[in-house]
């Protein structure tokens, strides 16, 4: 890319900044401190723009655009993987879950780390040795290139779109809560900034934006955790003792347990916060979710793509170890962020800002800095919010790059052009990549706005489920099983995707109006009895009881309002999107069924449709993935 173009980088990104400026209306930061929020956001956005400006000069070939020319070091890639992976869902979401449900939130974070063992032992190095730009490169190597590229690209686009939609909608809501701009503007800001990075800076800019974001995230978390932990002399039992002894935490557990809490002492209620079962009620669901995480991460296209950016298999190995250290270390910090937020801010206050608990981290930052009316408190809030914003943009950039590479490199170049014997010039390849980026980016913004207010949590689960049930079995078996072939890949991709999506569509993740209405009626029927109880408590002489009763009133008012809203919303609706009154299957995550079926489909397909080429190529594939002979070399700059 030449200088004539690079000035457009600045123009486009400045445009996005311009959209973002007249904002900060009713954000979590108070009025007089708005300038802090604005300054911190502007600083971080300007930093990423500068990165893009520098990166744009280095992006000349398709290899630069998709994989930064293979010139990223293992350590840099490790930070970039962490930046790609610590999405808003895992960084704000897990701290939130811990602040609301205690132990279960922490247990949830473990699967996200263990997933990288699968990546490290089975996937990263062979993929680096055999692949070039995309997941389908690996599949197409031994098998019929046309067929496997088509199914591979479709699966990559499916997984990325699910994940992308979840990020756009979640990000839109989050940016709205954090800085107070409206939902559509937030989605457009995220989309335009991301498009700026990817379009002009390709993988070089995406990588560096992810690295910068990961570093900022780790610094912010370390500072907060230190400040939370210092008063306890860095004693873990001392800190947790204080958490479980806190009346706010005990009250939260009492709310969660409902009638079961009546005979428990305050100490027992607090201790319950450190025990399993407050969030995950069905063990099988929890195991199924664990399977999707542990095997799905190795099939996520935007994660796989990161291994093509390093020069050798040894650097790929090194990058996973770095990523595991950063991601694992971060989740250990999250333990303190979550419990610290529960103790200092209080679960109820956090849930009042965002029912999912996503504001736990930002609110804790504000509290630690001195509260809502202090300069430092608002600076910390602004900093964490800006990092959250950068997180969303960086994760979305990685996803768009993965989807665009499947579209341009696999479908357009691989199938339509080379598949028909038409050679493609390097310039055409880069142009195809940029056109695909614009298409995917525009799509992401459109879907993000169209899906406003939808329940998108299901989409993240779905992305992991499809990655684990379709992509993972196909990649694993083509790398390690001699008889794997085109028939197996095509059948595995189709069965894995269809089963995972199908089971999710009939799962409890969807909204079932009949059940919602029944619950609403139950809330309304029980309202009177609860009011009497609260009125009695309000008359009490114990100030703690009165405080609790006041909180209970607020919670009850909210529940009643929601029940009435639900009754109106679903007035004429009895069945879910799929026409079901209740879920066919009680599993929230289909992994435990769909992953074995995906493997079975690859095996059956391979055995049913023999393919001589795939078997003949086995020696080459196996020799190459183990020795690194012919692995694509980094381009010199």
């Amino acid at each position: 890319m030449n200088h004539k173009h690079t000035k457009w980088v600045l123009l486009a990104l400045a445009g996005a900044l311009g959209v973002a400026t007249p904002v900060f209306a009713q954000s979590a930061a108070t009025g007089e401190y708005k300038w802090i929020t604005f300054t911190v956001f502007a600083a971080i956005i300007l930093l990423t723009m500068y990165i893009t400006y520098v990166a744009a000069k280095r992006v000349k070939s398709a290899s630069d655009f998709y994989t930064a020319g293979g010139g990223v070091s293992g350590m840099q890639n490790g930070w970039a993987i962490a930046g790609d992976y610590l999405s808003a869902a895992s960084f704000l979401g897990i701290a939130g879950l811990i602040s609301q449900y205690g132990y279960d939130g922490f247990m949830y974070s473990v699967g996200w780390l263990v997933a990288y063992i699968t990546v490290l032992l089975l996937i990263a190095e062979p993929c680096r040795n055999i692949g070039k730009y995309t997941l389908s490169d690996i599949l197409a190597y031994r098998n019929d290139p046309k067929k496997t590229r088509v199914v591979g690209a479709l699966s990559v686009i499916t997984v990325s779109t699910f994940y992308l939609t979840a990020q756009m909608v979640g990000g839109g809501v989050l940016v709205k809560t954090l800085i107070g701009i409206d939902y559509e503007t937030s989605v457009i800001c995220v989309g335009v900034l991301m498009l700026g990075y990817v379009l002009f800076g390709g993988m070089v800019a995406t990588t560096w934006v992810q690295i910068v974001k990961a570093v900022l995230l780790v610094i912010a978390s370390l500072v907060i955790v230190m400040l939370v932990w210092v008063p306890y002399g860095f004693s873990l039992p001392g800190f947790l003792q204080d958490v479980v002894g806190d009346p706010k935490v005990q009250a939260r557990v009492a709310t969660l347990l409902g009638d079961k809490a009546t005979n428990m002492t305050a100490a027992e209620l607090g201790q319950r916060f450190l025990e399993p079962g407050l969030y995950f009620k069905a063990p099988l669901d929890q195991i199924s979710l664990g399977m999707a995480l542990v095997f799905g991460t190795a099939g996520l296209p935007h994660i796989l793509m990161r291994f093509f950016t390093v020069p050798t298999a040894q650097q790929a190995r090194k990058s996973v170890v770095w990523a595991m250290s950063i991601i694992g270390g971060f989740y250990v910090l999250t333990l303190f962020l979550g419990f610290g937020a529960a103790k200092l801010v209080g679960p109820a206050v956090i849930a009042a800002q965002d029912p999912g608990g996503n504001m736990a981290g930002p609110l804790l930052a504000q509290y630690i800095g001195g509260g809502a009316n202090s300069l430092l408190g608002n600076f910390m809030l602004a900093f964490v919010s800006a990092v959250a914003f950068a997180t969303i943009v960086a994760v979305v950039a990685g996803l768009v790059l993965a989807a665009a590479s499947a579209m341009a490199h696999d479908l357009y170049v691989g199938v339509f052009r080379l598949g028909h014997g038409q050679p493609v010039t390097p310039q055409e390849q880069v142009r195809a990549a940029r056109v695909a980026t614009v298409i995917v980016g525009a799509l992401a913004i459109t879907i993000g706005i169209a899906a406003k207010g939808q329940n998108v949590a299901v989409l993240v689960a779905l992305a992991f489920a499809v990655a684990a049930s379709a992509n993972f079995p196909c990649v694993l078996l083509t790398l390690y099983w001699k008889r794997c072939n085109t028939g197996g890949i095509v059948l595995g991709m189709i069965v894995g995707t269809v089963v995972a999506v199908g089971l999710t569509l009939v799962s409890p993740n969807l909204t079932y109006p009949k059940a919602v209405k029944a619950a609403a009626h139950k809330t309304l029927d029980g309202e009177a009895a609860k009011r009497t109880k609260i009125t009695a408590a309000l008359a009490s002489t114990d100030p703690i009881k009165v405080k609790e009763a006041e909180m209970a009133t607020k919670a009850l008012d909210k529940a009643v309002k929601k029940a009435n809203d639900d009754l109106v919303k679903f007035k004429d609706q009895e069945t879910s999107f799929m026409g079901l009154e209740k879920p066919l299957l009680e599993l929230k995550n289909p992994g435990i069924i769909s992953i074995p079926l995906g493997f079975l489909a690859v095996i059956l397909g391979s055995l049913l449709f023999r393919d001589k080429r795939a078997e003949d190529m086995w020696d080459e594939v196996y020799a190459r993935q183990n020795t690194g002979i012919l692995a694509s070399k980094p381009t010199a700059h």
């Binding site: 247990m107 780390l113 032992l121 947790l240 479980v244 996973v320 595991m324």
Partner: protein
């Protein structure tokens, strides 16, 4: 990219050094993978079906479940470290040796 015709892949595969590398690698990776999967799934299984055990307090308010969840991090890091140590020591030099002999059809 070099021309794939220049390396005789079946000869490389048949090389006893490659066979030795393959056996060692396969055994090591399978064992480590099975161990890590079992160790991970003990956590959701324990939290779901052995709650009484997970609730036993061992260090102040810290219970077995919390310690076990924390141990998952150290075990994961341990596996990553051990794999890297083992691969750097045993796999890389052998793979380089084999590649040097066979790349571009040599020896």
């Amino acid at each position: 990219m070099a021309n794939p015709q220049t390396t005789d892949w079946s000869r490389l595969i048949a090389d006893p050094r490659f066979q030795a590398l393959h056996r060692r690698k396969q055994g090591f990776l399978t064992g480590l993978m099975i161990f890590s999967v079992i160790y991970y799934f003990l956590l959701p299984i324990g939290a779901g079906y052995f709650q009484d055990l997970f609730k036993v307090k061992v260090w102040g308010v810290i219970n077995v479940g919390l310690l076990f969840a924390l141990s998952e991090f150290f075990v994961a890091w341990g596996i990553a470290w051990y794999y890297t140590y083992y691969a750097n020591k045993h796999f890389d030099s052998q793979a380089r040796e084999i590649a040097a002999t066979h790349e571009k059809g040599g020896a």
